[in-house]
Point group: C2
DNA sequence: TTCTGTGAAATAGTTCACAGCG
DNA sequence: CGCTGTGAACTATTTCACAGAA
């Protein structure tokens, strides 16, 4: 990931904010007016002191003896995360994954409406997916300008990922969410995060293997062992 | 995430192993025989001492003056991650996301073949997706036993995620990869990891906002500001 | 009294730097 | 001589514990 401006808050703190926000929205939906750090920390699965420190590091204050005002906290955390406005996104690569993402309502409902779809394959260009007409990646600069896009989701085959990323950066995109199996190199001013299914499964595999070994090996198909996948 | 047996290696170390493995497989594919910690660390984007310590913590040794044997390292890291055998998986929820995952070739190529698809909707059961016939979730126990499954990917709507997880755990599944917008509660012996698109985008949003603020705000549609998404 | 905000302690993780092996 | 393996220093992060505000 590129580093951006040096900041005084740790990435661990930033990564917890979406979790706090999700719980806060649930509390707000249930018309809860205030919440203590103990309660919210319990809901979010963190230590109360960690929660208080996280909020304090952004200057977000509660009321001693009372707790935090839920609606105010939602507002403040949203501002800190940059969620006081929508972030329209473009999906690059309209294969199975791209289609799934375009149809995923969890995006628009959380402020990330899909505004454009791009592909390099002429047989896909012109298709309508989730109500959006697929455009050719050669037109990316025009699309980015037209839709005021800052974020692109890369859902191409792995071999095309770097190329797609370069094109989008050249078209003015400054944040990438990389959904492919390979890492993408970017200039320092561009932010990237990668979501990789196989990496997650490999980590799961480690802990799964370890905990079943500790229990005596039940549940793991060890009889299938010793055919390395490399 | 559930904790499993207390271990002496940090989660940070485990999370780096898949990255090392990916680079090692590239080196192996290019017939590179040995690699120094400096070189591999550079490829993986970590400090060389961190790499050496990570490997040493699993008892994986190199040769002083030479480096590490690439093929041996691939083998050892695979064993540590539990990748010396395949991990057949089941996808629960055959909507857009489930279909995308079922068709994603990055899974089988890395040792996680999709062996079954489950859904609760009778109009989907019986469909063939990616060469696999969708079965009803009521039959999950039989499916898990038949295919010797240990890992389930939850790709249902968020509201059904906990339910789906409970059913799969009751059917003998011991690792879950949760692809929905909500957290899932599980017993201690079950491992869970969650991949959430909106969380990733929110973190991107934070850094994007911050770095464009540092550059004077160019590139962000600030004129659209102030319509909170909550 | 309750619960925040935060020094200070504890813990975890990273990096340096170098002894010593091949 | 080059590079690993690791004590020790350093940095980051979490947690405790409590003073003090409401």
């Amino acid at each position: 990931m590129s580093e951006g401006a040096a900041s005084r808050v740790s990435e661990a703190t930033v990564a917890r904010l979406p979790r706090y926000l999700a719980r806060l929205l649930e509390l707000a939906a249930a018309d809860t007016a205030t919440v203590s750090s103990d309660h919210l920390a319990e809901l979010a699965g963190v230590n109360p002191a960690t929660l208080r420190r996280d909020l304090a590091s952004f200057g977000i204050a509660g009321t001693r003896g009372v707790g935090y005002d839920v609606r105010y906290l939602v507002y403040e955390v949203s501002i800190v995360l940059g969620l006081n406005h929508e972030w329209p996104i473009v999906i690059v690569g309209v294969g199975n994954l791209g289609r799934a993402l375009a149809n995923y309502d969890g995006l628009v409902s959380r402020g990330f409406p899909v505004r454009a779809l791009l592909d390099i394959d002429p047989s896909v260009v012109g298709d309508e997916v989730a109500g959006i007409t697929v455009e050719h990646i050669d037109d990316s600069a025009a699309v980015v300008a037209r839709e005021q896009l800052a974020v692109a989701v890369i859902a191409t085959p792995s071999g095309s990922a770097q190329n797609a990323a370069d094109l989008m950066i050249g078209s003015g995109i400054s944040s990438l969410l990389n959904f492919t199996a390979v890492a993408i190199e970017v200039p320092d001013v561009v932010e990237v995060r990668r979501v990789d299914l196989a990496t997650e499964l490999q980590i799961l595999s480690f802990y799964q293997q370890r905990s079943s070994a500790a229990r005596g090996g039940a549940g793991v198909p060890l009889e299938k062992a010793l055919s390395p996948i490399c």
